[in-house]
């Protein structure tokens, strides 16, 4: 008895280990996307719940904001943005001694002007003589920042970095690229299953062979066709309909194969009875096949939609990389190159691109798994 419980504890621990290793990368990304961008750049996301010490350089205001008071010329202001929550520990006026002064100390510059600072970053800089410079002097601060979470990154990424538009573009690619193959393949699969015609078995064998053809085989010839087509009719070679049809082509074999496997499992008698009653193939398709196939449609829809949503290569090759056409994955890749150090933009952008797949995943996991298990083979 004791041995069994020991092995059960061991397997629980082992599984827990796997779960932790698998969740940590995504979790870290999510936490990071909610953190203040300055904190994100200097501390690991696992310190998000602790107070972080930050060293910063600020410049005080220049001569325009000076006022005369009590026989001094004064410049007052604040270093931090409102509600930053930061508390200054120490400060300096020289880059070599950034911790020279404590709060309450009076720091004296070379030109005999003095500055006092409170812990919230409000400063008072005063001088007996009038300030002459447009730029203020620099202050080096060491402050403690409490844990803070913000949606600021999301606002920035969605509206300033173009991720918002890329999200719309991706939807405009993925939705038709899922529905069009679903429509034409359901008729195709129906005729492969329930209609008799010459060459049916050959066609089926071609579909099965096409299942594993890598899409790389098609890229160059299709690009050539699109370029010729564009030149011939004077339209853009790269366009949304072009991407839809490319995705339809690459998803056709697997969609047809899965649907045919499903249709084959439906009872033959039902179709025969309907035919005897004078129903045409289209009637049978609309009244019998579609209602029965809803679960199969759901699985295939999810697989194909996720495939199109997450695709990079097709969107890269068949769309122009301009704001009105670029898709999320291509945009993310572009940001990885141009904003590789701005982790607040990358983590947030990546999380935005994951929202739709994760929603589908959690809401419709059952259909997703069913589709995968049914044999998702995709070239």
């Amino acid at each position: 008895m004791k041995k069994i419980s020991l092995s059960s504890i061991l397997s629980q621990l082992l599984l827990l280990f796997f779960v932790i290793v698998w969740i940590i990368p995504t979790f870290g990304l999510f936490i990071s996307s909610l953190r203040d961008k300055d904190l994100l750049a200097i501390s690991g996301w696992w310190t998000a719940l602790t107070t972080t010490e930050i060293n910063e350089i600020y410049r005080m205001s220049g001569m325009e904001s000076q006022i005369e008071e009590d026989g001094y010329f004064k410049i007052k202001g604040t270093l931090f943005e409102e509600n930053s929550g930061k508390k200054i520990e120490s400060f300096g006026i020289n880059s070599k001694k950034i911790n020279e002064f404590k709060i309450g100390d009076i720091a004296i510059f070379k030109d005999e002007s003095e500055v006092i600072l409170d812990e919230d970053g409000n400063y008072e800089w005063r001088s007996k003589s009038e300030f002459q410079k447009k730029k203020g002097k620099r202050l080096f601060t060491t402050s403690l920042s409490p844990p803070s979470f913000t949606f600021e990154n999301y606002r920035e990424v969605l509206f300033k970095e173009g991720i918002g538009r890329a999200f719309v573009n991706t939807m405009a690619v993925a939705l038709p690229s899922t529905l069009i193959p679903l429509i034409i393949c359901s008729f195709f699969a129906y005729s492969l299953t329930w209609m008799r015609f010459y060459g049916r078995d050959t066609l089926l064998a071609i579909i099965i062979a096409s299942l594993v053809v890598p899409l790389q085989m098609s890229l160059i010839p299709i690009l050539t066709i699109y370029n010729d087509f564009g030149a011939l009719f004077g339209v853009a070679a790269k366009s949304y309909p072009g991407v839809w049809m490319a995705h339809t082509g690459f998803g056709l074999a697997s969609t047809t194969f899965l649907l045919r496997n499903f249709l084959k499992s439906l009872p033959n008698e039902m179709m025969e009875a309907a035919k005897v009653d004078g129903a045409s193939h289209y009637d049978i398709f609309l009244r019998i096949i579609i209602p029965l196939s809803i679960p199969a449609f759901a699985s295939i829809f999810i697989l194909q939609f996720l495939w199109c949503w997450n695709d990079l290569l097709v969107g890269l090759v068949f769309l122009d990389q301009v704001p009105s056409e670029i898709i999320l994955t291509a945009k993310l890749k572009e940001l990885l190159g141009s904003r590789g150090e701005n982790w607040e933009i990358l983590t947030t952008g990546a999380f935005v691109s994951m929202t739709v797949p994760l929603f589908i995943f959690f809401a419709l996991q059952r259909y997703f798994i069913r589709g995968l298990v049914a044999g998702s083979v995709k070239g």
């Binding site: 599984l15 990368p25 501390s43 690991g44 594993v212 790389q216 890229l219 890749k333 995968l372």
Partner: protein, 327 residues
């Protein structure tokens, strides 16, 4: 293009296909006759109506390109002049091509094997533990994420800062806390390939896991219980009963992941763009499609090499299909 315009063409695009099927079938139903002779005639038209769109797409996007790619591989970079085996000779002598082939082979060896192994182990563990289904969901989740998204996630893990700075990448933070020097992981040749493969394993284990979970239920409970009563350890049961029983499933999953890995492109494109000796065939092909105005001959050769990798699987699929048809 404004968002409103975009919505409009999306709507139009989908409507076009629905309208095609509806109108053509409506015409057939209305004007098709009821007599037997006309019924047969009408039926053969109906077959064409049902099949035509899918067949045209299949022909234009899969069948024709396969032959065209083979043809282009024997032509010059513009596809105009016949150059015989020139492009193939170039490939064999190109160091980048050899490196890509080698990297692809290592990917094919490591990723399907480890993903299948982890998937099997986790499915087996989760099957016997009450919180197993939550664990399965979590491990399966990366399957829903794009390769580029996964790339960003892992680039953050591998992030490198100089030794004097605070490390914000998890891996380097761990290394530093253990007293070692931080490393720029993705730029260390040979090893960086394995850091990229880790991402793919992280994703594909979920696929193996769900398929194994479904397959595990098919193992007769009595067999497992009998083994337990006879005093077999869980490890022994795993190796002597579960693995032999799931042999077919293991093969299917291994093949499935192999096909996916063979055309791996996104992860490498996003993470290193093939630098630091991480290139694979699909990335090299993409390079040649666009490098210096594009070279359709060399690009096609690379596509064909990828295709050759799946031919055994293709043949096996057709063979199995033929067997099924006989029954």
């Amino acid at each position: 293009m404004t968002i409103l315009n975009l919505l409009f063409i999306v709507f139009l695009g989908i409507l076009f296909f629905i309208a095609y099927f509806h109108i053509s079938n409506y015409l057939l139903d209305t004007y098709g006759g009821k007599s037997v002779k006309r019924y047969n005639f009408e039926n053969s038209i109906r077959v064409i109506v049902f099949i035509a769109p899918a067949f045209i797409v299949l022909f234009v996007f899969i069948l024709y390109p396969v032959f065209e790619t083979v043809r282009l591989s024997f032509y010059d970079k513009f596809g105009r002049e016949f150059v015989g085996l020139y492009n193939y000779k170039w490939a064999v002598n190109d160091p980048e091509f050899r490196r890509s082939i080698l990297n692809n082979l290592v990917w094919l060896l490591v990723v399907p094997t480890l993903s299948t192994f982890f998937g099997l182990v986790i499915a087996n563990l989760a099957d016997r533990i009450w919180w197993g289904s939550i664990a399965k969901s979590i491990i399966f989740m990366p399957m829903a994420i794009s390769f580029v998204g996964a790339g960003v996630i892992w680039k953050f893990i591998y992030e490198y800062r100089g030794p004097d700075n605070t490390q914000i990448g998890l891996l380097n933070a761990i290394i530093v806390s253990l007293g070692y020097e931080p490393q720029a992981w993705l730029t260390i040749p040979i090893w960086n390939n394995f850091f990229l493969m880790a991402i793919m394993i992280w994703i594909q284990t979920g696929l193996a896991l769900v398929i194994f979970s479904a397959a595990l239920r098919s193992i007769p409970k009595e067999m497992l219980e009998a083994a337990r009563i006879d005093g077999a350890s869980e490890l022994k049961i795993f190796f002597s009963i579960i693995i032999p029983y799931l042999e077919q499933t293991i093969l299917v999953i291994w093949t499935l992941i192999t096909i996916i890995v063979l055309r791996i492109f996104d992860i490498i494109f996003a993470m290193t763009n093939g630098e630091w000796q991480t290139g694979v065939l699909a990335n090299l092909m993409y390079d040649w499609m666009f490098r210096g105005g594009g070279d359709s001959g060399r690009g096609s050769v690379l596509a064909i090499v990828i295709m050759i990798g799946v031919i055994p699987i293709l043949a096996w699929n057709l063979y199995k299909h033929r067997q099924e048809q006989k029954i």
